[in-house]
């Protein structure tokens, strides 16, 4: 809303309000074609809304900041946001709308892999640049798509040995029963075995399972040293509750790639969640100046109701900035020029630290962090600088095959 008002003011005042920096004057003629449009597709209603909300906040923040700094190429940025209501059909519909009617210059969005796979071919077809900013199972190989979230090689690889060092060699894996969970479970198994451990059992749970009694009994029967979890969503939070209620919290420790992505630590009581270990590309508790400023900016705008600012929000924010750097370097918003500019290995310093685009895979090299839950929030234990997306790199080389659009399933 504020954006369009600002836009209106700017157009009527014929750009008179802008701080006319010398570099901008040359491009003023271009400003006449109106603002640069950024599309956003995120769920703000339905079960995935809790995940989508902070991502949209982060993108809004990035756009506001860029505008406050004079926009891009002398043009204002305009955010076009559609609420996909946790409905895949609406993803396809709005994706077409953004690409064909709104003719946006770039789209940031998609939460689940299913939503990404629904819209990615649409952006390929209508030649619209696409950024997917969610951590996911890895393997997308598409020159039109940039993936700024972490993949298993960046986080699971750190999490598993760390947990095994602490607790022992015998692991039990539980994961959500869909692609992300199944592929992450494979990676967990690989890293457990690479580190000389043994996986006693892997259990998958549909997203709507609410009663974990039988599974908790199975886990006890297997007597593992540690539990590796890739459970997803509101219903699965119940697992940690039932686990603690059964008195197992102190018996078998948990390490997870998904715990805390929404707000699990704040929801659960300390006695239910203390000691759980997780690994992501960003934590709200990170004490670097960039991170503190980022968190403060979002909290100032959204007050006490602000949800947990996870890697998803940080990667969305960094995604917008990466794209903006690409546009600056290319000197245009034209798709191919921006892709080529991004492929020069552009980097930005975001809340999580330095983020560099890997030209071969269109994924990013970024910091990974390891943290432990302590009294309803995370305590960051270790930082792993500049982790490359090695999993996707094993199957994807866009320099050699620029026309590839597959999502590979990486053989482990």
């Amino acid at each position: 809303m504020t954006l369009s008002r600002r836009n209106f003011l700017r157009n009527t005042a014929a750009g008179g309000m802008t701080l006319a920096a010398p570099s901008l004057i040359g491009t003023m003629a271009k400003a006449a074609d109106g603002p640069i449009k950024i599309g956003s597709l995120h769920d703000l209603a339905g079960p995935l809304a809790a995940t989508g909300e902070p991502m949209v906040y982060a993108i809004q923040l990035a756009v506001e900041e860029l505008n406050a700094a004079g926009g891009l190429l002398g043009r204002e940025l305009e955010l076009v946001n559609y609420d996909t209501q946790s409905n895949i059909q609406l993803y396809s519909q709005y994706a077409q709308q953004l690409a064909v009617r709104d003719k946006v210059d770039v789209i940031h969005g998609g939460i689940t892999s299913a939503s990404r796979e629904a819209i990615r071919p649409i952006f390929d077809r209508f030649r619209t640049l696409y950024f997917y900013n969610t951590l996911y199972e890895g393997g997308v190989c598409d020159r039109n798509t940039f993936n700024t979230g972490t993949t298993p090689a960046q986080t699971v690889e750190k999490l598993v040995p760390y947990a095994m060092n602490l607790w022992g060699k015998k692991a039990y894996i539980i994961a959500a029963d869909y692609n992300y969970g199944q592929i992450t479970a494979k990676w967990m198994k690989k890293y457990v075995q690479d580190n000389g451990g043994e996986v006693v059992e892997i259990d998958f749970f549909p997203l709507d399972v609410t009663n974990f009694g039988p599974s908790i009994s199975r886990i006890q029967a297997a007597k593992p040293d540690l539990l590796l979890s890739a459970m997803v969503g509101g219903n699965h939070t119940a697992f940690y509750r039932q686990w603690a209620a059964a008195g197992l919290k102190g018996e078998i420790p948990i390490a997870s790639t998904t715990f805390g992505l929404v707000n699990e630590p704040a929801t659960l009581e300390p006695e239910e969640s203390n000691g759980v270990i997780g690994s992501y590309g960003y934590f709200e508790e990170l004490q670097t100046p960039a991170s503190l400023a980022f968190v403060k900016a979002i909290k100032d705008r959204h007050g006490a109701q602000t949800p947990y600012i996870s890697e998803l929000a940080a990667a969305s924010y960094e995604g917008v900035y990466l794209w903006a750097e690409g546009v600056k370097l290319a000197g245009t918003t034209e798709r191919m020029a921006v892709i080529e500019a991004l492929e020069t290995g552009i980097s930005v310093d975001g809340p999580s630290g330095k983020v560099v685009i890997d030209p071969k895979t269109h994924h990013v090299t970024r910091n990974a962090f390891l943290a432990e839950v302590e009294n309803k929030s995370w305590k960051v234990l270790e930082t792993f600088e500049q982790q490359a997306p090695l999993d996707t790199a094993a199957v994807c080389d866009l320099e050699a095959n620029p026309n590839d659009t597959t999502q590979y399933e990486i053989n482990i």
């Binding site: 209603a45 609420d83 009617r101």
Partner: protein
């Protein structure tokens, strides 16, 4: 005589609609065309339930089972055949076979009413769970990976029959989908006007009476159910042709409920009603996503409640009633024509 007149009016309307479908790409921008394409595909789905429920008296809570099966059958076949023509046939055939088995199991077992609803709903949940757990390379039919929750991306869309290299443009896809909707609509109109249509309506009105007249209600209900399955499966192929994508959420509870809502809002016991209800609700859901003042679910729910309370018969019958009450002349006209027939 009156039936014939109605048929004639319907035919003229259909011709006008077909002309509209063909002309639309010249007047409407590409995005609108693509949006209309998915609306029309969904309207075909609405017709399938409108037919089996409104005329056959079978309330299926799981019409998405056939829709989803059609969509997956099309996707798998199109990837393997490399040609959409045979894939469309599969998208109709497989749901029909499934409908025949499921229908036989239920209808010949004496299941009816809300119990039939629960079985169909449960079957769609089973399909959802099963398809959902097919992630991984292992689950593969020919060259087609089922993909589990992530679904199947980049499915080949319709091509010219016999020429797989010629892929239909979005405008052509719209023409095909729009005309398909009209053809299905007319086909159902003709079917309902036929002897078969009279028999199933007789069964809907009073099963025992129809049985005593020598018609086996089970047989006719099964046929109705299978026709509904065929249409829903066809709608699935049209849907995939639009989005080039299918995922297990196609089997989910939300869509099943939506279809029922389209039929009720539009008007049960009519064919145009479900189409109107579907187009209206689709348009509304899309419009709601562009605003952020109110939660989308909240608005939809409120609209539904208002509808049930104020327009319980649905739009189409209510409009017809209104028109009839305003135009007493129309009544005398039909009276005249009846008199003529008698004379």
């Amino acid at each position: 005589m009156q039936k014939l007149n109605e048929m004639r009016v319907a035919l003229i309307c259909a011709v006008i609609a077909a002309a509209g479908v063909i002309a639309a790409p010249y007047y409407i921008d590409l995005f609108q065309i693509m949006q209309l394409t998915v609306f029309a595909a969904m309207a075909v789905l609405a017709l399938s339930l409108g037919f089996i429920w409104g005329y056959g008296g079978i309330l299926s809570f799981g019409q998405t089972s056939f829709f989803g099966l059609g969509a997956y059958a099309y996707a798998v076949a199109a990837i393997n055949f490399g040609d959409s023509t045979g894939a469309i046939v599969m998208a109709i055939l497989i749901p029909v076979i499934f409908a025949a088995l499921l229908g036989y199991f239920m209808i010949y077992g004496g299941v009816s009413d809300v119990y039939l609803g629960v079985i169909t709903l449960t079957v769609s949940l089973i399909l959802f769970n099963l398809v959902n757990s097919t992630a991984g390379d292992f689950y593969k039919i020919g060259d087609a990976r089922l993909g589990g929750f992530n679904g199947m991306p980049a499915i080949p869309t319709f091509n010219m029959p016999g020429d797989p290299g010629y892929i239909l443009s979005p405008e052509q896809a719209w023409t095909v989908t729009g005309l398909a909707l009209i053809v299905v609509y007319i086909g159902l109109r003709v079917l309902i006007a036929s002897t078969f249509g009279r028999i199933i309506i007789a069964i809907r009105e009073n099963e025992t009476r129809a049985a005593l007249l020598g018609y086996d209600p089970r047989f006719y209900k099964l046929l109705t159910f299978m026709i509904g399955g065929a249409i829903a499966g066809f709608a699935g192929a049209l849907y995939v042709n639009w989005g080039a994508f299918v995922s297990p959420t196609i089997f989910a509870l939300g869509l099943s409920a939506q279809i029922i809502i389209w039929v009720i809002i539009g008007g049960r016991g009519t064919l145009i009603g479900p189409v109107i209800g579907c187009l209206l609700m689709q348009w509304m859901v899309t419009a709601i996503g562009g605003q952020q003042a109110l939660d989308a679910n909240f608005i939809l729910g409120a609209i539904l409640i208002v509808f049930v309370l104020l327009v319980p018969k649905g739009i189409a019958p209510t409009v017809v009633d209104l028109v009839k009450s305003r135009l007493p002349k129309a009544k005398s006209d039909t009276a005249n024509s009846n008199a003529k027939v008698k004379a």
